[in-house]
Amino acid sequence: MGDYAIEAHGLVKDFGATRALDGIDLKVPAGSIFGVLGPNGAGKTTTLRVLLGIIDPDAGERTLLGDSRPLRQARQVGYLPEERGLYPAMNPREAIAFMGALRGLPLKEGRLRASALLEAHGLGHAADRPIRTLSKGMAQTVQLLGTLVHRPRLIVLDEPFSGLDALNQGRLEALIRAQAADGVTVIFSTHVIAHAERLCERIAIIAGGQVRFEGAVEEARGRLNPRVRLGMREEHGPWRAALPADAARQDGLWRFDLPDSGVEPLLRALIASGAGIETLSIERPGLHDAFVVIAGEQAARAMDAPDTEAVP
């Protein structure tokens, strides 16, 4: 497999006159948790489908677990699609075993593992109930377990948090961390930056079918300077000459990027003039701030919009 679980270069995919992917480059390190961020319509799902071999690109190359024909590695991969899909008449045990069987796990073994997984995730009581009688959250958990039952080396989750309540989102985050701790590579798409910020070591920001950024979360944040907020008792005084040129007053506070020289010269001037410091904070920029800078205001607004996705 090498250092990367997934490598893609120059992926292009058109649907009629619409260019969904416009030269996607990605490298997902093996054993990492990798987030694909972008607003709806950015090309996240198409990217994942192309990477998995569900659809072929019109141009470009991709390898999945070192194989240029991704479906040949299907037994090593678990996939949770954005549009969740289960047979309503099947029971969870059979559904999970069936998903394992699709990826080469014998049915008998699949049923045993399914029972264990359902018990471990608090769904043992529902193992034999038709899926149509389960709640959305339960059904989503069943599908997620079907993604894991064959113990894949790579897990691809498309918008895994959508439709889950806060409790189940927390459980899913824990599950992703546990998989990564076992050496499994996890790649997931999301339009909720907080999940990526909490979970990912590396991210790709996609907008308009292009990768606008790929790298470590810290690297993305590093594109912005820390912000300084300063509140003074005295509004005027000689200390103002020490303020950086980009300092702006807003809501009674001075705000500016942390200068390369740090805040020490300003602090010295403030103390010397007895201006009376009421507030002083240095804030590291969040991933959201980095996203705004990288993907643009419009993409950021789309990310912030309420989730309208349909879930089963």
């Binding site: 607003p39 569900i54 899909g85 089963p312």
Partner: protein, 413 residues
């Protein structure tokens, strides 16, 4: 290839179990009752093409004078009673040995006579199977009476003769009688084949649409090649239908055992029952695969039941046309139309099952099965490619729709 088959069988198993344990399967099992209804329809479609073949023909060995009198008498009666009420007459001059001539006529498949009349118009005798004699003797008697009356009138002063008494000489079989009864078998075979395949193809399509609406299709497409999904679905439905056939076969066998005295009424096909049953299964499989592959290809283009109905309607209508086309084989097995029906891939199974009922030759079946196999491979290949290209297209549309919904929300904000 091995992995493809393994994956196809996983999908086939799931589909098979899900279908056989569903209410739909019960509908499938009572499906064969539908041919009774459809029988009336197809009887009408095929009646014109096979009218000449099924109409009983009596060979009449008669002198030229008697023959002319009988032909003229039939002509006059047809004007009053209609052609269907009277048997066709094939008037032949007597040979040196009339008994041998009678036997030869009854054995001649080409002439298709159901019985032979000889003895002149004064003392006619009808030789043939009991059933053929029973069906034709009254009509034949009318013709003879008409001829005798006409001759009496022509001879001035002669009294009107009494109704003629036709002597009956029953024999075991007649080629023409066999041909007529085998047409029933041929038509039945076509009907059963048609009903089975159309019910199955419909179920296959519903199954695919259900999967697309359940969004399961992407789970499958991410795990196995789309060709395996396609093949798995075809295999599942085939297995399901063979289960149905086994149930029907068992029921039919039980019915036969219970109704032993009536077995003789079932017309035996020309190739014999075992070969006919085998051909029935083979042609059913061929017919189903050809139509099923086509329907799956269509189903992949659609994302809603309404779209499926719109797309499949022309194919269903075309299929009815194909069956009607194949029905020409029953009436005129050697005609150019019949040969075309045997060659055209979608009508070939229907045409060949009819041929199995009517003609004992086996080699055309070997040829037809090979020909159909080639076309099955071609259609499956093409339909699978179409399926692969379009099966996930609807997902994209959904995504775009949500995108639009989101954009609207943003604009509103």
């Amino acid at each position: 290839m091995r992995e493809l088959l393994r994956a196809a069988l996983v999908i086939a198993r799931r589909d098979y179990v899900a279908t056989v344990w569903s209410r739909t399967f019960l509908l499938f099992l009572i499906g064969p009752l539908l041919p009774l209804v459809a029988g009336a329809l197809f009887g009408a479609i095929g009646s014109e093409t096979d009218r000449s073949a099924s109409h009983a023909a009596i060979a009449v060995i008669a002198t030229p004078a008697d023959g002319a009198a009988l032909a003229a008498a039939r002509g006059r009666l047809v004007e009053r009673l209609g052609d269907d009420a009277l048997p066709d007459l094939l008037i032949l001059p007597p040979a040196r040995d009339p008994a041998a001539q009678t036997r030869a006529l009854l054995a001649d498949r080409a002439k298709k006579v159901t019985a032979v009349a000889r003895g002149g118009i004064g003392t006619p005798a009808l030789t043939g199977p009991a059933r053929a004699i029973g069906e034709t003797i009254d009509g034949l008697g009318l013709i003879y009476d008409e001829a005798r009356q006409a001759r009496a009138l022509a001879m001035a002063g002669a009294a009107a003769p009494p109704p003629v008494a036709i002597a009956r000489h029953e024999v075991e079989t007649a080629a023409g009688s066999d041909a007529a009864s085998r047409m029933v078998t041929a038509r039945l075979g076509q009907l059963i084949l048609m009903m089975l395949t159309m019910i199955l193809a419909g179920m296959l399509l519903s199954n695919l649409i259900e999967e697309k609406s359940n969004k399961v299709i992407e789970v499958l497409a991410a795990a196995v090649p789309v060709d395996a999904i396609f093949l798995g679905k075809l295999i599942a439905m085939l297995g399901m239908s063979l289960t149905g056939i086994a149930i029907w076969g068992g029921t039919a066998a039980a019915a036969v055992l219970l109704l032993v005295p009536h077995i003789g009424a079932v017309p035996a096909p020309a190739v014999g029952w075992p070969a006919f049953a085998l051909f029935g299964v083979v042609y059913f499989v061929g017919c189903y695969l050809l139509l099923g592959a086509l329907f799956l290809g269509i189903g992949a283009q659609a994302s809603t039941v309404r779209e499926v109905q719109t797309l499949s309607m022309p194919v269903t209508m075309a299929q009815l046309g194909v069956v009607a086309f194949a029905a020409t084989v029953v009436g005129a097995p050697g005609s150019a139309l019949a040969i075309a029906a045997m060659i055209f891939p979608w009508s070939s199974p229907y045409a060949m099952i009819a041929r199995a009922a009517q003609s004992p030759a086996l080699w055309p079946h070997a040829l037809a099965i090979g020909w159909q196999a080639i076309w099955i491979a071609i259609i499956i290949r093409l339909a699978a490619a179409r399926f692969r290209r379009s099966v996930l297209r609807s997902g994209g549309g959904g995504r775009r729709s949500r995108g639009r919904a989101r954009n609207r929300k943003i604009s509103a904000a």
